[in-house]
Symmetry: C2
Subunit: 131 residues, 2 copies
């Protein structure tokens, strides 16, 4: 196996990128990056994903204002996942207005019955869908 | 769009699952789940992934002993990513012996030069590769 020296865009056109609130440790969202969005993120210091649905760069917060400022970037042992520690501007990463997209919890003991557990303030849904 | 009532294995055969240390908040790893591994995880309370490389269920820690006990499970707003808050047994989620697989950091200001930053103890590499 070749040594892991960075996110492996040679083997994977798209790589999952996990955004984590650098201050609270909350996992905010997961979206995808291609080489171009990764390079733009490193250059600008603002997180830019690649939208699979819209098939173009997705500059997070470009319309909502909920920009993610990159504080540190990490990749995993096999170079196929990114972890981005960010400062989430605007208080909400989720287009549904929650701080984190992971606001729905599964109750294993009930075989997967779900309840909604907001992890932050809810505002008007943005028109931008996640990928 | 249909309402999101759980991880959407109808639309996605495999869904990324993020494992987060429930106590420290550290993101430990990302791997994949199919419907079967998800159901097994809910049933047993121990995290079971699906290995894309080995094309079979991957019962995390089955050989290394580094089991992940599921404390809570969350899915995101569009139902295509899981967040698992776990208790990591054995101190290391990573087959390279680190607590987290995300032990390599990118320095954006150097255009992506990398240095290794262990996030936990390092032990003998496990024979189990990540997906």
């Amino acid at each position: 196996m070749k040594p892991v020296t960075g996110p492996d865009f040679d083997s994977h056109e798209l790589i999952p990128a996990i955004a984590q609130d650098a201050e609270t440790g909350d996992v905010l969202m997961m979206a995808w990056m291609n080489r171009e969005s990764w390079q733009e993120t490193l250059t600008t210091g603002k997180v830019c994903y690649y939208s699979r649905s819209r098939k173009k760069l997705w500059r997070k917060g470009e319309e909502s204002g909920n920009v993610q400022e990159l504080l540190s970037a990490w990749f995993d042992c096999d170079g196929d996942t990114l972890l981005l520690k960010v400062r989430q501007i605007g208080g909400a990463a989720c287009h549904e207005g929650y701080r984190s997209c992971f606001f729905r919890r599964v109750l294993p003991e009930t075989g997967g019955r779900i309840f909604r557990e907001p992890t932050g303030m809810r505002g008007p849904p943005s028109t931008k869908m996640h990928d």
